[in-house]
Symmetry: C2
Subunit: 217 residues, 2 copies
C-alpha cells in the first residue's frame, strides 16, 4: 500500500512537472523568453506558484527544462523519420519537411522553433543556455548528416557530397525558413526551402559518373 | 536670424531623434523587444523622457522607426556592394558576406540582424511590424536576385539559375547563419554559409553547356 501510494504521488509529481514544461513549450515557441512571465506559465498549466518553485528554483532552470524536453522530443522525431529504413533516405528528408510543415500549420503558423527563438534572443548572453542550444543543433545536424550519408550509400546522392557541410547548411536555411513561416503565417517558406535544398544536392551521374565525381574532389 | 535659429532647432531635433534611433538599434540587435525598456533607450542615448515621447508616442512607433532606419542603412549597403559595376557579380556577393562578417566581429558577435530578431520575436503577433519586416526581406531578396542575374549575364553562372528562388534561399540561410553567429559568438557560420551558397550556384559549362542547360529546364 505504501509503495502504491508512493507511486501515485511520484506519478502526480511527474504530471505536474510535465504540465509546467508543456505550458512553457507552448508559450516559448510563440513569444520571447523575456515576454513570458511565471504568471503566464501558471495560468496556462493550472499549476500553483508553490509547485512551480518546487520544481524550478528560477526562470532559467525552467527554461533549461523546456529546452531539454523539446530537444528530447525532436531527437525522437528525427530518429523516427530520418532513420526509417523502410523509406529511401531522400524521401525521409522530404517526410521530415512535410510533417514539420503540417505540424506548424496545426498552430496557425504562430509557433516556431524553440531552439531557434531562444538562440536568437539569448544566444549571445546566457552562457548556460548557449552550450545547451549549441548541443541541440549539433545533434540535429548529426541526424541530417547521417541521413545524407545513407543517401550516398543508396546511390541517391553523389559520393562527392560533404554530408556534414550540407547538414549544417540545411539547419541554417531551415531555421531561417521557420522564422519566415511565422512572419508570413504560412508554411510555404519551409516547403520551398526543403524542395530547393533537396534539389540542390549533387546526384550521381551514371553516364558521366567518373568525370563528375573526380571533378569535384 | 529667425530662419537660422529655426534651422538650428530643426537640426537639434533631428539629432535627438537620430540619437534615440541609434540607441534603439544597438539595444534591439542585442536583446529582445520585450526585454528593452524605454529606460534603457533613455540611458543609452542620454535623451530625456519627454523628448522620447515627443518623437515616439509609443514603444511600437519607436520600434517602427528603428526598423525603417535599419532597413534604409542596409538598402544603401546592399546597393553599394551588390550593385558595384567595378567588381564581378559573384565577387560582389563575396564582398557582402565578408564585410558583414567583419562588421559583426566589431561587436564581438553579440549583435545580430535586427530584422531577423524582430521577425522571430514579433512576426506572428504584430500585424504592423509584420508587413514592414516582410517588405524589408522582399527588398533584400531583390538586391541579391539582381546581383545573381548580373552573374548570369556575365556568364559567371548558368542560364538555368532561378535567381529569385536562389535569392530567397540565400536569405533563409543567411538569417539562420546570423542566428548561429550569436550562439557560437563567431562569424564563421556566416563565412561557411556564404562560401557554401556561392559554391552551390550552377556554373555554365563551356564543354557540355547545351546539355546541362537543357537538362535543368
Amino acid at each position: 500500500m505504501r509503495e502504491a501510494g508512493g507511486d501515485v504521488r511520484a506519478h502526480r509529481r511527474a504530471d505536474t512537472r510535465a504540465a509546467i514544461v508543456r505550458a512553457g513549450t507552448a508559450l516559448l515557441t510563440e513569444r520571447s523568453f523575456a515576454d513570458v512571465g511565471i504568471e503566464d506559465v501558471l495560468a496556462q498549466s493550472g499549476v500553483a506558484r508553490g509547485s512551480f518553485y518546487h520544481f524550478f528554483p528560477s526562470k532559467e532552470a525552467f527554461g533549461e527544462a523546456v529546452i531539454d524536453n523539446y530537444a528530447a522530443y525532436f531527437d525522437r522525431k528525427l530518429q523516427r523519420l530520418l532513420g526509417d529504413p523502410s523509406v529511401s533516405p531522400l524521401a525521409r528528408l522530404e517526410a521530415y519537411v512535410d510533417e514539420t510543415s503540417r505540424g506548424v500549420e496545426k498552430f496557425d503558423c504562430m509557433r516556431g522553433c524553440l531552439i531557434g527563438a531562444l538562440s536568437q534572443e539569448l544566444g549571445a548572453h546566457s552562457a548556460v543556455f548557449r552550450s545547451r542550444l549549441e548541443a541541440v543543433f549539433a545533434n540535429w545536424q548529426r541526424h541530417v548528416a547521417d541521413c545524407l550519408r545513407d543517401a550516398v550509400a543508396a546511390r541517391e546522392l553523389s559520393r562527392s557530397l560533404d554530408a556534414d557541410g550540407a547538414a549544417e547548411f540545411f539547419w541554417y536555411g531551415w531555421e531561417g525558413a521557420l522564422m519566415r513561416m511565422k512572419l508570413e503565417r504560412s508554411a510555404e517558406p519551409m516547403r520551398r526551402f526543403g524542395r530547393h535544398f533537396i534539389d540542390s544536392l549533387p546526384r550521381p551521374s551514371r553516364v558521366r559518373g567518373a568525370v563528375r565525381e573526380s571533378s569535384r574532389s
